[in-house]
Symmetry: D5
Subunit: 90 residues, 10 copies
């Protein structure tokens, strides 16, 4: 089943730069794994900040939650999830 | 998979009373079928208007959409769907 | 360039059923053309009403506007457009 | 009487990890008690963050407030309460 | 149990004046009954339109819903209900 | 003149527990004075957090402001004030 | 006591032009009376539509409600009222 | 002085097609005049509907209001006006 | 030209009391200057917090911005500015 | 392609004044470069705070994102981006 997932990340201003860099690198690595195994089908940046929108694929909402929580930045992100139904044009 | 579905119905003021009564009766009948087959697991009225909230169960968002569109009042309703994941307390 | 487009259709309650059917059929046909020529890359239904979300591809916002306005239901729809930037995971 | 309760938890970023772990464990234990005594009838996670939605049962709003405030994370949570009326389909 | 109920009435502009007058008179009469039997404990107008806010008392949300739906203007009103818990100052 | 006042308190997470306890006790004491002199006519807790709603009575908005600012938690609270007019049912 | 009152008027599109003209003229006349007797202290147009904001003066919210309801366009307007307290700079 | 003006037009569905066409043509003509005399400095369509955003220049808010109200579609439009101050980069 | 300006001040909870007192005194002094030179025409407190609403007069939005930024609390305030046009009743 | 970009900057209150000054100077310098190379076509201050609105020009959303992220204050700003289509009046 597909989900539209919109994620906005807010890093606390007092987080040291090196910590931010390590977190972002870990996030990129975990994202690549989710992309490779088909959980993240497509992903785009929303211009102007640390925001993205993607098409995620998972067995159900529980599997999707686990995938999202596996992201190293999970604690700092706000995710908005919309369940998607098949459209007759597809 | 479970979904939280909140439905608000707005009937156009010009709809004749008998038409409203027939629609509401048909809605009740279709609702009873969805309750009987387990699609609607639980449902409550939100006090003060034609609104309800329920726990719906469907294979995926496509099956849920079909169930919602099968309601006779579908054209007049606004549904807000939240996908639900299993909670460790259950 | 890609755009995330979320469309909600509100048909006036007084529109005769046959008119609605003709409009929806024309919309489906025009949608199929936009899907075939790659303007609509992917499209999903948002469960519970006449709403969809899609990934549209167009040279720029002007071309996207023309494609959206070519839909027979354009007069009755509300479209929310988000410009999309390439994500490093892609 | 039933209530729909939607809870979102926001932990201050400066809270040490061990403190978070202890709080979450205490929350889980108290939640299990409320589940066992029937105050929490059903509960689900909302995918993508520390959010849940549940059906709570209490004598009245005062008893519900006391139950919610007995949660160890109460200070960090925002709860949205909707009173529920019996639906004719039940 | 007490509830804070905020009601806004929107009459369709095409409703004939005599019909409006008859509805408002019936609403006033039913309101007086609910005031007399203690369902409406206190009620105030919100200045500038057909809006009011009141403290309602009912056994539970189901009894409150029935009282609200017994109002002749129910079809034209939007009610916002907040369940109230006892405050230690009372 | 009556006012509907809805208050939400947000304590900064870094406030030491003893400071919180002292502030809450002082708030309770000042609230009792305002209840005794008729400024707070009725007050209820909104279940699930540090929120309340009350009917306040004051000569005008200036007197109401002074009463609200006399609360020890004023610095940490957000108050929403609605002026109330007499309803014909009263 | 002073109130900030923001009014937006929405005329139903099917209202005949002459009816609109008569209503607007009557509104202007009643507005002039309220201006002359000091109920409307100052009033401005908000550019771009049938909206205005004004400083109204009335004994209390009940007197303000009566003044607002005496406007011929009351049925078509939405008023937002903010009670005003004296500022130390005045 | 410059203003950012965002306009959304909503035509009543019952307006006959020829009336719409005549109104749109008149709107285009009046818009061209405002563009020629420098009142509308720049204007863009917001993709997906009858919406635009523009930079308008007028002596003050009163002159801007008069220019906006001179548009034939004024009765059907909603305008959102933001006053603009000079930026040091200009 | 007149502007409606609504200002809400949020002081960071960690600001020492003496610093707050000095800032508020400086704000009061600068406010008195702006009142004396006619920039602030009228100003009121919004009851229940550090909020006010005023009628400001300035040559244009640039002059208004400079006046607002000259306030010692500017860094901690959020201002909402509405441009005002002359109303025919004035 | 043109974009309407509205930016609001929120500096953490604990940022030392000299750091703020250095950041603002760097922001001004980078802004001047983007203005000189035509990325920022026009820019205005929104009166009353650290907010601006501008017309940006970029090949696509990816180029726009890179330009926005090159601003020294990017970490502290919230940008709202609207894609713009050509209007027939231009």
């Amino acid at each position: 089943m597909d989900f539209l997932v919109r994620i906005a990340v807010t890093l606390p201003p007092e987080l040291p730069v090196e910590r931010v860099e390590r977190l972002v690198a870990a996030e990129r690595a975990r994202g690549a794994e989710l992309k490779a195994d088909g959980t993240i089908q497509r992903i785009w940046r929303i211009p102007g900040g640390m925001q993205n929108v993607g098409i995620w694929s998972a067995a159900d909402a529980t599997a999707l939650h686990d995938a999202l929580m596996s992201l190293p930045l999970a604690r700092y992100m706000k995710a908005e999830v919309t369940p998607l139904a098949v459209h007759p044009l597809e």
